[in-house]
Every structure is written in structure tokens, then in C-alpha cells.
Amino acid sequence: MVAEASNKTISVTLRVWRQAGPNQPGSFVDYTAKGLNTNMSFLELLDVVNDDITRQGGEPIAFAHDCREGICGTCSLVIDGKPHGPHRGVASCQTYVRSFADGAVITVEPFRARPFPVVKDLITDRAAFDKIQQAGGYISVRTGAAPDANANAVPKEDAELAMDAAACIGCGACVAACKNASAMLFVAAKVSHLGLMPQGQPERDKRVLAMVNTADDLGFGSCTNQYECSAACPKLISHDFIARLNRDYIGATFRSAFTPASANTGGGA
């Protein structure tokens, strides 16, 4: 979608969270941005404001960004009380100035969660998600010659559903939107996209137990089924996956309690 060329300009006031470093006190600071082309992106608006701040000898606002195409999951920002800004299914980088009224006061702050500590200003450390992934968000495969592409039959419906879950870019908006700072939507997406595939079956129970327990240990909250996460998700991951995660977790809990484990009496390598 290409925006209509426009010469329309607006002025807004940004109320931005400024924090010099981790564990330091922070506060909101107002910046006025004038003559903004309405087709610039929200991150470009921050670039323009930073230009002004730098020219005046100030410290520019630190914010995370990478691809600016809505696919990398690096940009964060809670804009006017909603992660990734006012639109549905859109990341902050794909939010445009035309979405705001002339003269608007726009509050911009970092994702707030204990497991996502603020590094500086609007940048948070989301390494907690990597730790959840490392706990089980993978499949163990022997490398070697590539298997035949059609060796494993996967029903089309399962493949599509797995792809819906795999669309998660791991940005953390679900945690930011949740009143409990719960990572359930993220964990559910990662558990489901592997759990729906034949390759994900051998480690399915181990995966769900390890990922949920790791998220708990990292200090994420619990789900109260309000579905703010899926509403804020830039990839519109469905909270149906959370139901699936719950079912997998409870099932795995009971299976692991009653399934006999090998006593390894045969020895071997």
C-alpha cells in the first residue's frame, strides 16, 4: 500500500519517557515537533525530534528499531497507552503520523514488565524471550543430507495453523499489553508452531513444560483470559493458541507423571 503523496503537515507534542540507564529514575519530558509530513512513520517522527535535540546539544531519545518493515520485532514503544500505537495488526514502525490529530499530545513509553528492564529511555532488554526460546523453542535434528521435501506428510490445515503461530516476531507487545505482564501469547505461539508439526512431536511435552516453567521463573505474570495480548499483537496471533498451550501443558503434566521412564539398565553410550 503506497500512501497518497501529501504536503499536509501537522504539529504534535511528544511526551516521552526519558531514563538515563538501567535502574535509574525516569520521567516524562515533552518535545514539540512542528511541520511534520503526515506520511512519515512514527519512528521517522522520533528521528526528526532527535535531530532537533542533537542540534541543541541534548541527548537524543534512545529507541529500538531495525527493519522498519514490521517484520523484525525490534521496535517496541507504548504509544498513548497501547503497544505499537493505535492500529490493529501493525508494529510501531508501520504507524504513521497521519494517524494522529494536529496538536495532539502523544505519550510514548517503553514496554513495562519486570522481565523487560529498561536499558535506556524507550529501549528495554527483551532477552527474557530468548531464555524462554532456549528452554525448548527448537527441534533437535541430526544434520546431514537434506531429507526429501515430501517425506513427511503434513495436512494443509495444520501447516496453515502452524504458520499463523510462526508469524510471531517476538516483539513482546503481548507482555506490554497484558495487565499481568504475562508472556502466554508468545509462549503459546512458539509452543504451537512446533507442536503442530510432525517434527515437533518428539519433544512436545518436554518443550511445553520447560517453556512455561522458564517464563514463570523469569517473573512473567499469569493469564486472566482478557485477550488484550492478541488485540495488541502486530501479527494478530490468536489467543486460541493460549488455549492450546494450556491443554498441552496440563496434558504433559499428567503424562510425565504417569509415563514410565527408562531406568537405563542396559548402559551404553
Binding site: 513509553e109 499481568n180 517464563a215 517473573g219 483470559n225 495488541a232 488455549a243 501443558y249 496440563i250
Partner: protein
Amino acid sequence: MSLIGNLFRSTVGRKFLMAVTGFILVGFVTGHLVGNLQVFAHPDKINGYAHFLQSLGPALWVVRLGLLAAVGIHIWAAVTLTLESKQARGPEPYGVKKWIRASVASRYMRLTGLVVLAFIAYHLAHFTIGAAGADTFKTRLAEYQMQEEFHLLGFPIVAKGQTVHDVYSMVFLGFSSPVVALFYMLAVALLTVHLLHGFDSMFQTIGWRSSKWSAALRTVTVLYCLAYLAGNLAIPGAILAGLVKPAPGTTAAQRIAAVAPASLAQR
């Protein structure tokens, strides 16, 4: 972690316990309402039914302790999860935070739950233990003599002519107090709001809900809640408003006629 460890320590496990205990409690309040609606029938019905429940002896205590355990686990899980979730937000609250789509009922679960807890305590003191409103408690009222045999599912339970506690009169006398009746009505309304989120939330937590049938589930939830609210408001509401009068000859009818004949006659 072990089975017990996963269920009682992990967030998903405790949510599962909340859903299972919630399911038990929904079943209980539904059965309780159906039983109570017998107050609108002949006094034989609710008095015979109450006598039947009392006569279960040890079985009654098994059910009572089971329900108490369900309430206890439900509250314990709610409190621990809430405290942890408050911690999870971190040191700094949001400057501006908007709700996107969370239902109103879901935002006040903790508040409605608290009022329901207070109501359960009062309700037990009122109609089970007799600590509140003691002068109209069933053990203080004259015994009721069964006019007909009481059947349950075709089985004869209480014989004709047997004397039993007069629960019928206790309910009528209890709800003739406006403060008591209005508190009951407020409490059941808030319990309905609690169920408006809790009912289909159970299915999500257990893992049965999906967008394929969530709209149908939502409809069932709303219809159930409306029926539950209507039934529960009807008992104290109809008695307080004088829409139903106690059956002639019962203790309730005599007492109400004796206490305030003028005001009741106008209704």
C-alpha cells in the same frame, strides 16, 4: 517438577485449578438455585428437600468439605497469581494505559470475587449456622408437619406427617427484612458478573475454547448468567416486594400477619 508441583506452583497449573474449582462451584450454585426455587411451591417441597439434605449425615459433610476445599483452592490460586502478576509489571507503572478489548466483567473479577466471599460468609451465618438473624433461624421456629409425602426423582424421601425444620418460613422471614434481601440481590448480581467472565474463561484455561465455537460459548455464557440472575433475584425480590405471600398456616404467614398487619395488607 512433579505433577503436584506443576499444578500448584506453575501459573498454568494454578489457573487449571481455578478453572476446575470454578467448574465445581458453578455446578453447586446452579443446583443450589434449582433447589431454592422450590420456595415458590408448596412448603412440603423445600422443607422436605432440606430435611433430605440434612439426613445425608456424613455424605453431607463430605460434600460440604469438598465445596469448602474448592472455595479455598479457588481463592488461594487467585490471591497468589494476582500478587505475582502485580510484581510482574515491574517497578514503574504505565503513564497512560488503555484497555483494548477486555470485557468489563473481566476487569472486576477480584472485586466481585471479594463481595461474593463476604456474601458466602454471611449466607452461611444466616441460613446454615444461625449466627445472623438468629430469631428466625430454622431451629428457633416451630417444627413443620409434612402434609404430603416428599418424593425426589420418584423415591419417597420424607413421610407424610413427619415433623421437619421449617426452612420455608425461615426464608420468608429472612427476606422480609429489606436490608437482608437487598444485600442478597446485590451479591447475586455481582456473582453473575463474576460468572460472566468466569464461565467461558474456564473453557479457555482448560484448553477447550477456540474461535471455531467461542461465539456459541459466549451466547451460552450470557444466557446461563441471565437465567441464573433472574432465578436468584426472584427469591428475595418477590418475597420483599410481597409478590408471593407465605402459604396460609405456616409460621411465616402467622408472624408476618402478627408483626405488621397494616403495612403488609396494603401490598
